[in-house]
Amino acid sequence: MQFDNEIIEHMANPNNYGSIEEADAIGIGENPQNGEKVIIYLKVSGDNTNPIIEDIKFQAIACMTTVVAGSIITGEAKGIDFDMGEQLISVTLGMLDNVPPEEAACSEMVALALKGAMDNYRLKQEGKESAGVVYKIENSCTISEEELAKIQKEHK
């Protein structure tokens, strides 16, 4: 990663870092190889056909490159609707072919955490119980009972 002032600003003061108490949705992007993960919290408004990401926060148990990716992607996601959110995820994942694998993994984790949070919101709207949705890099999974209980406990 080459550093300019903008990147350093993201490192020193990442946008939207933290958690949202009583979030409407939680998504987790995880790298199963090293255990690094990104957690995204959403506050959602608007109608259920195409809700709007009113507020977004993220936490990273990961390297600084992931923090920079989280700062940039959540900055883009704040205030957009879910359709635009899907496009943001798709564009982000589409760009990863051109970046080194270790940096690609960082952005992928953030994009998958956002996807997980949006899917978590949709599941809740369908009346399905879901404390959070976890996607792992390269292979996705639905959340286990054990993980679900853990997230619920952490989120209390």
Partner: protein, 279 residues
């Protein structure tokens, strides 16, 4: 009470950052000492919560520190102290409350009389003293400082949490040393970041990191990480060696200190492995 703990945490970090950015020797010394006192306040409140079996965490708000005059940060620190004084009404340990209030009285008086100075800790110059580093070495140093300053803060909080939850003298001695070592590294890296104009507050730690469920695994992973950190220091030392003997020697010094940390962590690992086996 958890909010009081968070406020104490935020005050400690704001003051610690102030000590990194101050250049005047006396201002730096005082802010450093006050940040140590605020760290102890945090620990007193934490111990009080733990002894009363009240749930708490190390969550906190982001702490804005970007100022161009020290006086602006000092006013912010005094505001934080005032807010904590109000919040202390929830503390039913009268002696603890009085101890903190007495410290605050003197510290506020001193902060109000502290001479002002210009702050260059956010100018993004990325120059350390007058050392000319290549772009590649500057980027490597920048990344290292951000990664490791967070890591040291994370370690302070993890060992702090483990210490509160242990009453064993042997293991708490190890945690104490590790905390002091991490404080020294955090201070060294923080002051370098301020000198380079890239100072930032370490980000909030996720609770799954300090509410350690498997201490044996945490220590094993930690030893691996320390070995990795040694390697990083070695690489950094090599990268800057041709441009700066001073920086190369500094990173060699940090590298050798990591060996001591590994030794301490191995002692802790042995202790916990035995403890788990005995249970």
């Amino acid at each position: 009470m958890n909010r009081l703990l968070q406020m104490a945490h935020e005050l400690w970090l704001a003051t610690l950052m102030g000590s990194f950015m101050a250049k005047d020797g006396e201002n730096k010394r005082l802010l450093n000492e006050f940040s140590d006192i605020f760290y102890r306040h945090h620990n007193w409140i934490e111990n009080d919560l733990f002894s009363k079996n009240i749930e708490y965490d190390y969550n906190r708000d982001n702490i804005p520190i970007k100022v161009d005059k020290l006086s602006v940060l000092l006013r912010n620190i005094i505001d934080r102290i005032n807010q904590i004084e109000l919040a202390l009404c929830v503390c039913d340990d009268k002696e603890l409350k009085a101890r903190i209030e007495h410290d605050f009285e003197y510290i506020k008086y001193t902060l109000q009389n502290m001479p002002d100075e210009d702050i260059n800790a956010f100018n993004m110059q990325r120059k350390y003293k007058n050392i000319e580093l290549s772009q590649e070495a500057t980027d490597a140093l920048t990344l290292f400082l951000f990664e490791e300053s967070y890591k040291e803060y994370e370690l302070i909080m993890i060992y702090n949490y483990l210490k509160v939850h242990s009453s064993d003298c042997f293991i708490n001695r190890i945690f104490d040393i590790m905390i002091q070592e991490s404080f020294f590294h955090l201070r060294s890296f923080g002051e370098m970041m301020a000198e380079m104009g890239i100072l930032g507050v370490p980000r909030v730690i996720h609770k799954s990191l300090y509410q350690v469920e498997d201490v044996v695994k945490f220590l094993k992973d930690g030893i691996e990480e320390e070995i990795g950190a040694k390697e990083q220091c070695k690489e950094l030392s090599d990268a800057v060696a041709k441009d700066s003997v001073e920086l190369a020697k500094f990173f060699d010094f940090i590298n050798y200190q990591e060996s001591y940390h590994i030794d301490l962590m191995k002692q802790a690992l042995e202790y916990y492995t035995k403890k788990v086996a005995d249970e």
